[in-house]
């Protein structure tokens, strides 16, 4: 018998694997936006062959990898914990013989695992058929990229966990989650490469976990910069966010008032 957490990973993988048609429908959106974003970035590179280190191949790889990672890393659509806090169901979760944060992380990893197959691979294949994707030159890059994508999921989970936990105080975390959903994309390097941002914006973003979500895995894949340093940065944010999440969960659950008792 497996420990509960690996079982949760597998269960979540299976759960999401049930909704194949939904995955297919979601893919349509990724592909449409991939085509549009790629067209815009290619039009930018019509002006100058290389913009901040990005040539056409790097730019289209940035776009398709970003569209593929979107559902793996997951920016929006994760409001389960905040809903359970609002309804009070979180009491049941807290009472179970597990660590709630670890259990949710395990579930998220299982979800992300299925998303790699259903949402990351197909847009990359589609992009590769139509565009000159820049594949890694060094074999080790594939390993680094896998780790970077995994850490991207953990950092994203850490952020989403904190935002959801705000429901302990706000009751309704939808607004907070919505703001993150829209701001997160541009700050984490999903929309435009962060290297194209003005220097002051890049320096400011370096002090946030945002680039760890998309830009870092994509940079690792494109072999831009030192991969080990990039992974260390992501690991730092992952550990910090999970630790803060534990403190917040602890304090939040002390505030919890359950109706009728």
């Amino acid at each position: 018998m497996l420990a509960p957490y690996p079982q949760l990973v597998i269960a979540a993988f299976r759960r999401f694997a049930t909704y194949r048609q939904a995955a297919l429908a979601g893919l349509t959106t990724n592909v449409v936006f991939g085509l549009l974003r790629a067209a815009v970035l290619v039009a930018v590179l019509d002006q100058r062959p290389v913009v901040a280190g990005y040539d056409v191949a790097a730019a289209v790889t940035f776009v398709w990898l970003g569209q593929g990672l979107l559902t793996v890393v997951l920016l929006w659509g994760d409001s389960e914990l905040s809903t359970r806090i609002r309804t009070g169901d979180v009491v049941i979760d807290l009472g179970r013989p597990w660590d709630l944060q670890a259990a949710l992380l395990a579930t998220d990893l299982g979800r992300a695992g299925f998303a790699v197959l259903s949402r990351l691979v197909p847009p990359m294949v589609f992009g590769a058929l139509l565009f000159p994707i820049r594949w890694p030159e060094r074999p080790a890059t594939w390993v680094f990229f896998a780790v970077a994508a995994l850490l991207g999921v953990v950092v994203s989970f850490g952020v989403r966990f904190l935002l959801n936990a705000s429901a302990f105080w706000l009751l309704d975390a939808r607004g907070v989650l919505a703001v993150w959903g829209v701001v997160g994309g541009v700050l984490s390097g999903l929309v435009v490469p962060l290297a194209w941002f003005p220097g002051w914006a890049r320096s400011a973003l370096a002090f946030t976990p945002a680039p760890s979500l998309f830009q870092t895995p994509i940079d690792v894949f494109l072999e831009r910069g030192d991969p080990l340093g990039a992974l260390a940065g992501q690991a730092f944010w992952a550990v910090l966010l999970l630790a803060v999440g534990r403190v917040v969960l602890h304090r939040g659950s002390r505030r919890l008032v359950v109706q009728g008792g």
């Binding site: 939904a22 429908a25 959106t29 936006f33 930018v44 703001v179 959903g181 929309v191 435009v192």
Partner: protein
């Protein structure tokens, strides 16, 4: 009969609006999220223009003008017909059957079921950008251009609304059609924010003419700027948006009726 219908709708809408103002903090954040959400593409445009001076043959303020026209139009359309996004849920849960039985227009019922006021954020973002763009893109004002500037966001909104209804009608045929519809609605919002010259011929045909997105922002912007079309389309197209909007509504109505007629319910 029609009078009662309108009165009922008015009451339903008023009650929906009051209910949304109940949770003030969350509502305010939701409005802000919509406002920022619509502005994200503007940020992307501005970031791009820190690197280059023209995109698809247009300078920064010209592209911002197109973005602003598209954003305002999309915001108004989203506010008025965005609720049609709920159609897949209504079909899945069988609630649509209830709506069909009531002596009120089905589409009108869906649209008035929830007027999401938070979407005012999108309109606000669009209008702010539009005011900036109209002031800074060096337009030589003539009566005709004033007319274009006023009507373009509205005809654009009608076009988007038609696209929105038609795209969501796909749910009558496809289970889980929402994502597919989203790729058309949000996709055309994105696509129309940029000059259509950046797209390759195929994308241009689909997203600008099959879905008549080019008439939301691109052609009206050319009319405002007094620029010949780099793609060589006739000048008449620059003023054709109202006609295209009317055609789009006709098309959407046809698709909607076909969908409703085909609907058989989800139950046994």
């Amino acid at each position: 009969m029609a009078d009662t219908g309108t009165a009922v709708h008015r009451r339903i809408i008023a009650s929906r609006i009051r209910s949304q103002l109940a949770y003030r903090t969350s509502f305010a954040l939701d409005v802000v999220a919509q406002l920022i959400g619509q502005s994200i593409e503007l940020v992307a445009i501005l970031v791009v223009f820190t690197q280059v001076t023209s995109l698809g043959g247009f300078d920064r303020n010209e592209v911002v003008l197109m973005y602003a026209l598209a954003a305002t139009a999309f915001g108004i359309a989203d506010l008025s017909v965005g609720q049609v996004e709920e159609l897949p849920n209504l079909i899945r849960t069988g609630e649509l059957d209830v709506l069909l039985l009531r002596p009120l227009g089905t589409l009108a019922q869906i649209l008035s079921a929830d007027v999401a006021l938070k979407r005012l954020g999108r309109v606000a973002a669009g209008l702010a950008a539009l005011a900036y763009a109209l002031a800074t893109s060096g337009i030589e004002w003539t009566p005709v251009r004033v007319l274009v500037a006023v009507t373009a966001p509205l005809t654009g909104a009608v076009i988007f609304a038609a696209v929105w209804v038609a795209a969501n009608t796909v749910s009558f045929w496809v289970v889980d059609g929402r994502e597919v519809a989203n790729s058309v609605t949000y996709g055309s919002n994105f696509a129309t924010s940029y000059p259509i010259t950046v797209y390759g011929p195929w994308l241009r045909r689909i997203l600008c003419f099959a879905v008549p997105g080019a008439f939301v922002a691109y052609f009206p912007a050319l009319a405002l700027l007094g620029r010949p079309d780099p793609l060589g389309f006739p000048v008449a197209l620059q003023y054709a948006s109202p006609l295209v909007a009317a055609l789009a509504v006709g098309g959407a109505a046809l698709v909607w009726r076909t969908g409703v007629r085909r609907y058989q319910g989800t139950g046994s």
